[in-house]
């Protein structure tokens, strides 16, 4: 509980007994955009008093690529590859969100096999994305080995993606009207083998990192985000569930036949400290991987023969109208606000990036942390800058 004292009584650390004739001053520290633990090109300007952080201001925009503006110039189908680049660690989920938004506005039906395959690939990508999050979080804490272990497992998922669609990172596999092509011969068996292999490895991560004494000391009671603060700042995904709010779009508004599957929503318990601390946000991701494995197993069992793609024209026209569709991405709710004027390309496409909203809570949580806790905080929020800046 030392950290609690530290957070509630910051004056003890920096007022104290400094002789009055010594001039002390605060340091303005520029963290990023090139810094090992800002996960890309995030820039945080820190106001510090020694090791104590008084104020943290994130500056964004270093990875802005005009994705929303580009959408107005390309056709609906041509925009799918651009969604890969939003949150480049979960391309399948981004594809799915965009496809569902367009399908809802166009009233396009998707064959059942495509639905199940979409679920399988989305959940596989969720596992891959959480593996990166967990591994790089270990790296932020100074543990190098979990990163390599998690990338070893992720490699198999990338191989599965490669076998299905030829790409490993930017897949563009889930397209409007279904998926691009059926999975190859023997893919389902490979996927089952991976799940069996992967389930046994989760215990390794827990032994190596989750329950490691030093790791728990570094992350528990750090960056506490209470449930009301999380809701007020629009946090979603593991950041929201880490604060103890059981909100998951796959349960709340099921899409893609998620209502047919049996799974739980893991939430933070405050097991090692206070509810909503960094450790809770981290551990929710570990538990979500277990649930994803459960969902994929059920989806593989339900997989039926049949077509995987509804026929949609190459240059499609959607009826004039407005639609807003959100899906549960690994990092939170990804929303597409699609406005159509009846033409071949969107009139306006507004993307709600979960990382962007999650990052907004950083200046609230950062004050009275130590310098090393900033790395813990950013890592537990798990931002991907491609999605923050779009």
């Amino acid at each position: 509980m030392k950290e609690i004292e530290l957070h509630s009584q910051p004056d003890l650390l920096h007022d104290g007994e400094v002789p009055s004739d010594i001039r002390t001053e605060e340091i303005m520290l520029n963290m990023g955009p090139q810094h090992p633990s800002t996960h890309g090109v995030l820039r945080v300007v820190l106001q510090t008093d020694g090791e104590l952080v008084l104020k943290a201001t994130p500056y964004i925009g270093y990875l802005h690529r005009c994705a929303e503006k580009i959408a107005e110039k390309v056709t609906y189908r041509q925009f799918t590859p651009y969604t890969d680049r939003l949150d480049y660690l979960s391309a399948m989920n981004n594809n799915l969100g965009y496809a569902l938004a367009v399908e809802k506005l166009g009233g396009i039906e998707v064959p059942p096999r495509a639905d199940y395959l979409r679920v399988i690939f989305a959940e596989l990508n969720r596992i891959a994305s959480h593996l990166v999050a967990i591994g790089s979080y270990g790296l932020d804490m100074g543990a190098y080995t979990p990163l390599v272990y998690s990338f070893r497992e992720r490699e198999w998922i990338m191989d599965l993606f490669e076998a299905a669609c030829g790409a490993r990172l930017t897949c563009s596999y889930i397209t409007i009207g279904g998926i691009r092509e059926d999975v190859p011969e023997g893919w389902v068996q490979q996927c089952r083998e991976f799940l069996d292999y992967f389930e046994s490895k989760i215990a390794d991560y827990n032994n190596l990192l989750s329950y490691n004494h030093i790791f728990v000391n570094r992350t528990a009671n750090v960056g506490i985000c209470p449930a009301d603060l999380a809701v007020a700042y629009g946090l979603t995904g593991p950041c929201l569930r880490g604060s103890g709010v059981a909100w998951d779009l796959r349960k709340a508004t099921p899409y893609c036949r998620y209502n047919e599957f049996d799974f739980d929503i893991p939430v933070g318990q405050g097991a090692n400290g206070t509810l909503g601390d960094c450790w809770d946000r981290y551990f929710v991701r570990v538990l979500e991987m277990v649930q994803s494995v459960r969902i994929i197993r059920q989806a593989l069992d339900k997989l039926t023969e049949g077509p995987v793609q509804t026929k949609v024209p190459r240059i499609m026209k959607l009826p004039a109208g407005v639609v807003y569709y959100e899906v549960e991405n690994p990092r939170g709710q990804l929303g597409f606000h699609l406005v159509s004027d009846g033409g071949t390309s969107p009139y306006r496409l507004k993307i709600r990036g979960p990382s962007f909203c999650n990052l907004s809570v950083l200046p609230v949580l950062a004050p009275n942390c130590l310098l090393a806790d900033i790395a813990a905080l950013i890592g537990s929020i798990d931002v991907v800058m491609g999605e923050v800046d779009r």
Binding site: K2, T145, Y149, E153, W156, E162, N212
Partner: protein
């Protein structure tokens, strides 16, 4: 299903070509040949070294003036320190690779990437010597020497065996500790002179961490000194000549724990994980050597590995019987090297397993736990001396039993380690996972 890209052939030119050819020849032909003939080569090397030492000591040494003799020995020690650093860096990368179910360097020099450190060194020498415009030039240039030279100076008083020491001073333990403590000056100097906020943070962390951990480190060693009554490293080593159970670590229960407190404190004083805050990569970019490049960076890097071996050597001499064999037989510097290398290996093992501690936790751990604990150990070990006497009635029964009991605990720990090693090797295919087998040739 898997796609393994073919590596494009590397084009070498000029000096690099010569070195690449030499390294390939050494690694591809000479080293496998030596491995084929490992035992004969090993025995022949020992015979040659013994003969060389005998001939030099008997015939050549008396003829040389002392200054030439000292010069030769110091150059030899410097070469030894460099070899320790080079092998240490390569070994660290191999250890990291194996712990992380990958291979580490495998290409440079053909045989398990043995020339990787040499190639890296060559690269660093060729780099531009960059000094930031706003840096304090003279201090910036001076700092790497202040870091490396004292770490090397510690070797001048380290005995590798009886007679295998440059200067057998009466206070050699104090000399070594003092030399290792000076290293912090170079780090603080470098961090300050860089005129970068990250470097300054690293330097300040190093300062407060090192100064704090010097105390438990010294107190742990003081317990051993109190048990033998000498601060000469040669005499400390010679006091443990009776095989496994006469080692100071098994002398009494307080010294048993003093070894571990010393080891933890030495991790902190070498800036090794989990105490690697001064260069904590994810927090401070690279800490105190953020602004250093080229050969100046190499000197900081070398200093770390040289100091790593020095503190392990100190632990070996003082607690683990130094150059004495655990099971009888001749006492040679070879035993000293084996034990020290094992301790260095444990440092690497810890680094690639544990996360980093936060700065307030580092200071809490030292001031609240380690310092009182080592004080207690020192007190207890000193009191133990009162009854540690074969004629004392207590010693016959209880103390004698405890003495051997500690030895058995040590044996068990070592046995556990070797059992784990054998288990890991036996099940390497299952433990390392299918992915490593599929993607890594030779795994």
């Amino acid at each position: 299903m898997t796609y393994i890209p073919q590596r494009p052939p590397v084009q070498y030119k000029g000096l690099s070509l010569v070195i690449a050819r030499l390294a390939t020849w050494l690694g591809g032909i000479v080293i496998p040949l030596l491995l084929q003939l490992a035992w004969p080569v090993f025995i022949a090397a020992i015979v040659v070294i013994v003969a060389f030492v005998w001939v030099v000591g008997r015939f050549i040494n008396p003829l040389l003036p002392w200054i030439v003799r000292d010069f030769i020995v110091v150059v030899g020690l410097l070469a030894f320190a460099c070899i320790v650093a080079i092998i240490g860096i390569w070994g660290e990368r191999k250890v990291a690779g194996r712990i992380q179910s990958r291979l580490g360097p495998m290409r440079t020099g053909v045989w398990h990437g043995w020339a990787q450190s040499l190639a890296d060194g060559l690269k660093f020498v060729q780099k531009e010597d960059l000094i930031p415009r706003e840096a304090d030039g003279p201090l910036f240039r001076l700092a790497p020497y202040i870091a490396l030279v004292p770490a090397f100076c510690a070797y001048l008083a380290l005995p590798f065996g009886v007679g295998w020491v440059f200067r057998d001073a009466d206070v050699s333990l104090l000399f070594v500790l003092a030399m290792l403590a000076i290293e912090v000056l170079g780090v603080i100097m470098g961090g300050w002179a860089s005129n970068s906020k990250w470097s300054l943070y690293g330097a300040m962390r190093e300062g407060c961490q090192l100064v704090s951990y010097e105390i438990p480190m010294g107190l742990s060693l003081l317990a051993a000194v109190a048990a033998t009554g000498s601060v000469s490293l040669v005499q400390l080593g010679e006091a443990q000549s009776g095989g496994w159970f006469s080692w100071l670590i098994f002398r009494n229960p307080f010294l048993f724990f003093a070894f571990f407190t010393y080891y933890v404190a030495s991790l902190a004083s070498c800036k090794r994980s989990p105490f690697d805050l001064p260069e904590g990569e994810s927090e401070l970019v690279a800490g105190f050597h953020t602004e250093y490049s080229g050969f100046r960076f190499v000197m900081f890097f070398f200093a770390e590995y040289v100091a790593m071996f020095a503190v392990s050597a100190l632990a070996t001499i003082i607690f683990l019987g130094g150059w004495h064999s655990p099971v009888g037989g001749p006492s040679t510097p070879l035993w000293f090297l084996i034990k020290s290398t094992f301790l260095v290996w444990v440092q690497m093992w810890i680094r690639w397993t544990l996360p980093r501690i936060r700065i307030d936790q580092v200071m809490h751990a030292c001031v609240k736990y380690l310092l009182p604990f080592t004080l207690l150990l020192f007190l207890g070990s000193s009191l133990w001396q009162l009854i540690d006497n074969p004629t004392h009635p207590v010693f016959e029964g209880f103390a004698h039993l405890l003495h051997y009991g500690l030895g058995v605990i040590g044996l068990l720990l070592l046995g556990l380690y070797f059992a784990g090693m054998v288990y890991g090797y036996w099940n390497r295919n299952r433990l390392v996972g299918q992915m490593a087998r599929k993607h890594l040739p030779g795994a």
